[in-house]
């Protein structure tokens, strides 16, 4: 199958995976997606006629280990590129080492660290839209449909800051107002006592939580409010990998969530979503086909898939033959302008900005209807555009 290649040496891709630590739920699914995508790539003849070999290293969701893992990929496994990292602090911790080791580092983290230009030329985020763009595109719909006075609850942690920094201006731009910002320390396991801080005149409660305590958060919100509650809008991160059919979550019925890619197969499900679901082994409810109790991180993990196909695309257009072509590979990535919806990009079409290395795509807003979610609105790409100041291409390679 790899007949036309000068060499059948595999292309090695380092997958930096949160197998353990607080990111483990995501890591597990990221790994499944990566395996599925690589299988397809290899079945179709690999990249430039060479098979792709996936090398997985666990970073323990820890920035120090993350940096070590990047070093290990670069110098021991001698991979051609590294991808996959989710948690912001791990990305930020490992990025400098990737830059210095001249190792292409493609993350799937949503964070604004890539798009804001604070990392380096070797860091890319082609598979998933950054939080700033997500938030910007949500704001108009929120203010128009749910209310103008917004209270936000977010983790006092990197991921939360992207929301904290970007939501208020976006809401304000729509004539709304963020009336209270409640930062919850990342170590918190119980939230009830933060809830009274929510002003009574709040129209919309905007919540975003990560980590294992998310379910507690939602449950306690339910206990607190009962049936009289403001409109609630959340980022799906709060219930990623969590079964919506859990009795405690009944309270979420009628609330809204941002989803990168809709967990429940929609009526107008695209053929690409169908194909992608089948390849990864996810059923129509977003759970593992093997175990319906094993819920995926569906709204995010597509980013891994799209990143892998982006790598393939760029390597092919660069005629990538080995590590000496890394610069060409980077430039090829930067030269990408858009992705079309299709098998390689099942979430939808995207614009890619080669200057700040960030992709911009459509976002979904879904409503919880009796333990499933249905998309009620899909934003346009333009909704999420903002002025890009960063320019990595000015940095040397």
């Amino acid at each position: 199958r790899y007949a036309q290649a000068q060499t059948s040496e595999p292309i090695k891709l380092g997958f930096e995976c949160h197998r353990t630590g607080i990111g483990a739920s995501y890591g597990r699914w990221y790994e499944r997606v990566a395996n599925a995508a690589v299988k397809i790539i290899n079945d179709e003849g690999g990249i430039n006629g060479r098979p792709v070999q996936l090398i997985v290293e666990d970073d323990g969701t820890d920035p120090k280990r993350g940096a070590e893992v990047v070093e290990k990929f670069a110098t021991q496994h001698k991979v051609d590129a590294v991808f996959g990292t989710l948690f912001s602090h791990v990305v930020v911790g490992a990025a400098p080492r990737a830059g210095e080791l001249k190792m292409p580092y493609l993350v799937v983290s949503e964070g604004t660290h890539v798009s804001s230009g604070s990392l380096n030329r070797y860091c890319f985020q082609p598979g998933i839209t950054d939080v700033r763009s997500q938030v910007t595109s949500m704001a108009p719909w929120i203010t128009k449909n749910l209310g103008k006075k917004v209270t936000m609850i977010f983790p006092d942690y990197a991921f939360g800051y992207d929301h904290r920094d970007n939501l208020p201006p976006a809401i304000k731009a729509q004539g709304g107002q963020v009336v209270e910002m409640i930062a919850v320390p990342p170590t918190e396991t119980s939230f009830t006592r933060y809830l009274p801080r929510i002003p009574t005149d709040t129209d919309v409660l905007y919540h975003i939580m990560v980590g294992p305590a998310v379910l507690t958060f939602v449950t306690e919100l339910g206990q607190f409010y009962g049936s009289q509650r403001p409109a609630i809008f959340g980022f799906i991160d709060s219930v990623e990998a969590v079964n919506l059919a859990t009795p405690q979550l009944g309270f979420l019925d009628g609330t809204y969530f941002w989803e990168g890619m809709p967990r429940y197969a929609q009526k107008d499900q695209s053929q690409w979503d169908k194909l992608y679901r089948a390849a990864v082994g996810v059923d129509d409810n977003g759970a593992s086909k093997a175990d319906p109790k094993d819920i995926s991180t569906y709204a995010h993990m597509y980013g891994v898939w799209e990143t892998l196909f982006t790598i393939k695309q760029a390597m092919q257009s660069a005629g990538y033959a080995g590590p000496k072509d890394k610069a060409k590979f980077i430039e090829a990535l930067e030269a990408i302008e858009k992705f079309d919806e299709g098998r390689d990009h099942p979430q939808g079409d995207k614009i890619f900005n080669g200057k700040n290395h960030q992709a911009y795509g459509h976002q979904n807003i879904s409503k919880v209807n009796g333990a499933r979610m249905d998309v009620v609105h899909r934003t346009s790409i333009e909704d999420g555009m903002y002025e890009v100041k960063a320019d990595y291409t000015k940095m040397s390679l």
Partner: protein, 293 residues
Amino acid sequence: MAFGPFLLLATLEGLLQAAVLTLTALGLSLVFGVMRVVNVAHGEFYMLGAVFAWWVASMFGMHPAVGFFVALIVSPIIVGAIAFASERLILKRLNYDPESTIVATIGMLYIIQQTTLLTYGPDARPVPAPFYYRIQLPWFGYSGYNLFVIVAAIVMLVAVWFVLSRTRLGLIMRATQFDRETAQAFGIPIERVYAFVFAAGAMLAAIAAVLIVPIRQAHYLMGLDPLLLSFIVVILGGLGSLRGTVVAALLIGLSDGIISVFFSPTLAKMISTLLVALVLVFKPEGLFGAKAR
């Protein structure tokens, strides 16, 4: 929300945390007090308690209450058995040397935690509460189950207090902690006492975990927080003082909740941690400790 209700809520939450913390800390205190073993794996016994509760509850899926109460009995027993075995296999052979046992219990921590990750997985999983009852107060709603946890913890506490201060077992345990050799010379089978104490300590943590798991979910990393807090409570309360443990747990439970009425959460945590640390600095023997050891 007005200040009063806010305070009420913070207090309720503080009581809940204090209740669970007291039970967990009591287990640690027992092990530390009697065996002089700093059991770093204590939090993992707590975690195991929650995980086994999930496991039992999902096996007895007929009614949440059935699953829960079976778990309340079965889970601590399994955890106790695991603790018992590890005491026999590891700690005993180390002769309870303080430094070695720290390393060994860190090792146990990893073993338990990672085995859970391999088998149970990285997700947080809920256990249904035995009953669902929401108390609607004029300002907010509150879970009736939370109040049940507080009461259950108090009942457990009284039971432990009775055993420690009113029974022979308690006397034996207190004697053992001062002088192992002399205790043996008076017919106390210290090996059995130690294994029992270690298992009992773990079981207390497991009970606390089963009580809390309908509110907090079982997760393989959930052990760290209770471990650290328990240590603080045990030392702050004064070693071996049951009353101290309760008071310290209340203090810890209530302080950052109430302080967070006035400050932002992270700042509140900073201030309350600092305050508690300073209490210890100026009263190193703990609030109710006899004297510094």
